[in-house]
Symmetry: C2
DNA sequence: TAGATTGTTAATCGATTAACAATC
DNA sequence: TAGATTGTTAATCGATTAACAATC
């Protein structure tokens, strides 16, 4: 039930607003103007006001924005109050790091199970979770009302896993596999592509020397 | 020594071109038109031609592009032929995962040392590397001509570490700490912000239901 | 040659910035 | 009230798409 059509550019700035407002809150700062926020966050004051007004008039003329109220509003816009059940597939180095990542709670995501295809990994314990056989993905997703899958597997086989996940009703994928997954349009995929990030760094480095 | 001013939008598409061309190469496909590439990569043919022509005329009228030649050209544009020495700071879960990440070689980056501030981590071995005390960062950077630092540390203290790195001549940072680092303008920072990615997924999930 | 497809210019679209009336 | 700052419209800027002459 989105309001207007919010552009991806705006959406990707929202977490940054949330983070900076959280920092201000930690410093007990109660109000901030778009100009002051501009100085610390680096977007123009005009852009900040435009961005926020996509979602509502959170400010007050002559005063600015109440930090705590705005922080909470953006949290709601980001859906941080919603709860989602997640599974993590691929319990290798990266998968284990992500499984231990503390940010999930803040985003309302709860990991319910870990999977791996490697027989030697199955049965090992990571945090509170025993690593399960990938064959059990379908049954676990169905029985635990899993909404989201976190993919920490190589690109080979990733599409096949996603097809299986989609077929049992998964609605979102946090994808660390270096591949562009094909999914029905009502399934959300958010990619974290380390290779693309590293190659971008390589490009920028080679430009300066 | 950049050519024109290439926009970030274009730069961030380059790794994707490289990846898809690599896939085509693996399939022994020798030539491709912008239209065919458009069908598989999802950018418009027009955009593909515009993007590539920022760097040179790699195609041939009536024929299209030679896959191998274009793959190699984009590799060069990305600076994948350049060699950089790197250190990794923060050998926790994520740091270890990144240290084991195989993508570095392809990008020409070689990790020379790992550091951690936790006394209990120091001396442990990850791959071929003993984890060193963070106090030794300066001397190791100087003695090994380190170009790049990979930051896998919490946000508290990250800016201070970066200041130290900059003072001994680091030129690039691959930053996994959830903070916007301040660096001189000739130092490159490429961020991988897992929280921002996760919050974006949360937003998009909350939109569909 | 005829057909295909590029390289490139022009047109369009969307995002950012500027300006200012509204109003707290 | 006077000053400050928003919300919002208008102007600008930049990126994407369309079109087509050049040419392989």
């Amino acid at each position: 039930m989105g309001t207007k059509n919010i552009s991806m550019a705006v959406i990707r700035r929202l977490p940054k607003y949330h983070r900076y407002l959280g920092d201000l809150l930690d410093k007990d700062i109660q109000r901030i103007s778009s100009k002051e926020l501009s100085d610390i966050i680096g977007f123009t004051a005009s852009q900040i006001r435009q961005d926020l007004n996509n979602f509502g008039g959170f400010g007050q003329q002559g005063y600015g924005y109440n930090v705590e109220a705005l922080y909470n509003e953006i949290g709601k816009i980001l859906g941080l109050d919603k709860k989602y059940n997640a599974i993590l597939i691929g319990a290798g180095n990266l998968g284990q790091a992500i499984a231990n990542y503390s940010g999930f709670r803040k985003a309302g995501f709860e990991i319910k199970a870990l999977f791996d295809a490697n027989p030697r990994m199955i049965g090992l314990k990571i945090r509170d979770f025993e690593i399960l056989d990938s064959q059990e993905i379908e049954s676990v997703v169905k029985e635990n009302e899993i909404d989201i899958a976190i993919l920490c597997i190589p690109k080979n086989g990733a599409q096949e896993i996603v097809n299986r996940l989609v077929s049992v009703g998964i609605k979102g994928v946090w994808n660390f596999a270096p591949i562009d997954l094909e999914v029905p349009k009502d399934v959300i995929v958010e990619n974290v592509n380390l290779t693309e990030s590293l190659f971008t760094l390589s490009y920028l480095m080679s430009e300066i020397e």
